[in-house]
């Protein structure tokens, strides 16, 4: 292997690790947050519903790139202006781009997936809820044991698609200096002035990751469909 090939391979491997960590972390946090977001959005209490509506609107109505910029440059600037945070031992962590990327991508996924969950919960026939009530189940019990499991089956294909979008979204973290697969490809491109090799290699990497995620979700969907 040539020197260039070795350099490219080592950089991209380091990048792909960060991409995978970022993706898995954000997918876990985002998908878990999505359910409370959906429940708050469907809540009858106005003080729960309106913040959820605003949250979903804000994250679905603006580009991910702007969200990343706003979080990293904007919020980062505000935090740096507060002396108690600026000189706290936590600052080295808060200064890095990594946690801002993590936060933004997780919240973004939570907003989109929350809307998917809301649709799924609303599309379950009313009879299910009424049957639960006639059995004397509490409201929480009906939600946990009756509605959410059925909503999960309905929502899973769309959630799979959203997670693919999250994987693609991690590529934007390179714009706020997180060194993941896209960032690694850009670095090699800038250092060696070769355009096509790093970009195509990164594309292949993302393609393989996407195939992996799609296969995983497909497997999960078939498993869930079989049980009933």
């Amino acid at each position: 292997m040539t020197e260039f090939g070795q350099c490219l391979a080592s950089q991209l491997l380091a990048g792909i690790q960060t991409t995978v960590i970022l993706f898995v972390g954000c997918a876990l946090v985002g998908n878990l947050l999505a359910i409370p977001v959906a429940l708050a959005r469907l809540s009858a209490k106005a003080w729960l519903r309106y913040p959820a509506v605003a949250f979903i609107l804000a994250f679905r109505g603006t580009p991910l790139l702007v969200q990343l910029y706003l979080c990293y440059f904007g919020v980062g600037q505000l935090l740096a202006g507060v002396p108690s945070i600026r000189y706290s031992p936590l600052w080295p962590m808060l200064r890095g781009a990594y946690c801002y990327a993590f936060l933004t991508l997780s919240l973004n996924t939570a907003a989109y997936c929350g809307e998917i969950w809301r649709g799924a919960i609303q599309s379950i026939p009313d009879g299910q809820h009424e049957a639960g009530q006639s059995l004397g189940l509490s409201k929480t019990r009906i939600m946990i044991s009756v509605l959410l499991p059925q909503a999960f089956r309905l929502a899973l294909p769309a959630i799979g698609g959203q997670n693919i979008l999250l994987l693609k979204g991690t590529a934007l973290a390179s714009t706020i200096t997180v060194f993941e697969l896209m960032g690694a490809a850009n670095l090699v491109r800038a250092q060696t002035f070769r355009v096509y090799e790093p970009l195509f290699a990164a594309a292949l990497g993302y393609f393989l990751l996407a195939v992996l995620v799609t296969t995983g979700f497909g497997f999960f969907e078939r498993r869930l469909a079989r049980r009933y």
Binding site: L57, A58, R60, G61, T62, P63, L64, L65, V66, Q67, Y69, L70, F73, G74, V75, G76, Q77, L78, I164, L167, K168, G169, T170, A171, L172, T175, M182, A185, V195, Y196, L199, F200, A202, A203, Y206, F207, A210, V211, T214
Partner: protein, 240 residues
Amino acid sequence: MESIVSWLTLLGFGDKGWGDELLRGALLSVEISISAYVVGLALGLAGALAKLSKRRTAVFVAVAYTTIIRSIPDILIIFLVYYTATDAVRSVVTFTGLASEFQINGFVAATLSLGIVQGGYSTEVLRGAIAAIPRGQAEAAYALGLTRRQTFFLVTLPQMIPLALPGLGNLWLVVLKESSLVSLIGFTELVLAGKMAAGATRDYFLFYCAIAFVFLVMSSLSATLFHALETSTANTGRHR
């Protein structure tokens, strides 16, 4: 109070404000979104027809296209299209000897790269809409002696538009937000204009909030518009 006044000056028009730059950027964002949307729809229509055709190679090419677009980050595709397109055009131009130094127009490059990404998404939406029209419609048209082209434009297309409208609305919202990505290939639309303003004034939070707000307004307006369009066309062509 003072800070509010200084914010308003920064966002205002005139010498000290960046309002006019941001407004120009927002207009360019909308322009590029519209042209990329049109390019995407044309590509998507071709892709949808290819996917539904009987020719094996056409199906293969269309499936490969949508699979690649769906699994590779948009920004990577935009970079790839931008570099390949500019390189290809430049080599063609220098080869034919029309000009020794040639720079591809930023707007064209941005439209092309964004449109190719958008085409992949449009393919799926349009394919679904075409496939949802009963076969009998096309068969009836053939029985009446219409050619394939006439059948498509006079029978299939008018019926698929109401079916495709929710998907088309979503696609417009997607392309509006994706247009922010062309700032990364150096096209001065809203995000890059705001980034420059933020860098010059060091008021990052203010300017990124302003950009986010403009995008929020634009996407809310388009969502309302498409919703009105959907309700007004919902009943045509179905209840007869």
